[in-house]
Symmetry: C2
């Protein structure tokens, strides 16, 4: 079995192709995010920032500091504080003191918050499964491999 | 040449794989966007929203209405107005009346705006070419094909 020869592109063509890929990547992720935002609103009466904060907390049962949540989501500290205040009022999150640092606290999901998020997460996974339904396991594997490659390049650039 | 058999995944595994792909897609586009934002700021003393508005206008020489720019960039009308006001002050964009509609106007780049944008766009393409440098033409072609498929699914969902 001979390997498929790589399509020959000039460096200029390759550069244009990479730019085209980036614009398509940006467009696709924007459209999927818009769709998720729309369905959260219409089907669950929820917002994307609330879903995102709970999703980050669900993966850190020991809790996270405000600035850690903020950094993880690339959203300002002030916005995160507003969201966490509201979630805490509703009994979905909880502020816990950090031992040895009187001024610091961590935020975690309450058991009720865990239940609500588990329900939302399952519904969200169903949406994504539908939106990405045109991609089979080979497509997915191929894209994940290239996105991991991209991630590595970005790590090296630091 | 026998076709590669598709990896066998259960529907549950496939759903999890699509979710993982979505999270990686979101992460990659967020990281690239952050990197572009950072370089615009440090290398060109420019902002991403200003770059985005000029980029949209550069592709529409006949001009665009405010709400068209806003829709295209998924940014509120108020934000776009602020950016266009500032660009107009700097002589980079221009408001032109719409014939037959006294209250409407379109925005387009001035010749100076076109020059500035052409310079920025070339530098931006170089950044993207570097950030996506780990992807060869086959990778790019493969990803573009799948992103187009994704776009189609999103169109059908409307």
């Amino acid at each position: 079995m001979t390997p498929t020869p790589e399509t020959e592109l000039t460096p200029e063509q390759l550069s244009k192709a990479r730019l085209r890929l980036w614009l398509k990547l940006l467009r696709a992720s924007g459209r999927i995010e818009d769709e998720v935002r729309r369905r959260l609103r219409s089907d669950l009466d929820w917002t994307l920032p609330r879903f995102d904060v709970m999703s980050v907390l669900a993966r850190q049962p020991e809790g996270m500091k405000m600035n850690e949540i903020s950094k993880k989501l690339r959203v300002s500290n002030g916005n995160i504080t507003g969201i966490v205040d509201k979630l805490t009022e509703e009994g979905l999150t909880l502020r816990v003191p950090v031992p040895g640092d009187r001024r610091a606290h961590k935020v975690c999901l309450t058991p009720k918050g865990e239940d609500v998020f588990a329900e939302h997460a399952a519904i969200h996974e169903g949406w994504i499964n539908g939106i990405l339904g045109g991609l089979n396991s080979d497509d997915i594997e191929g894209m994940i491999r290239r996105l991991d490659q991209l991630d590595l390049t970005l790590d090296e650039g630091r």
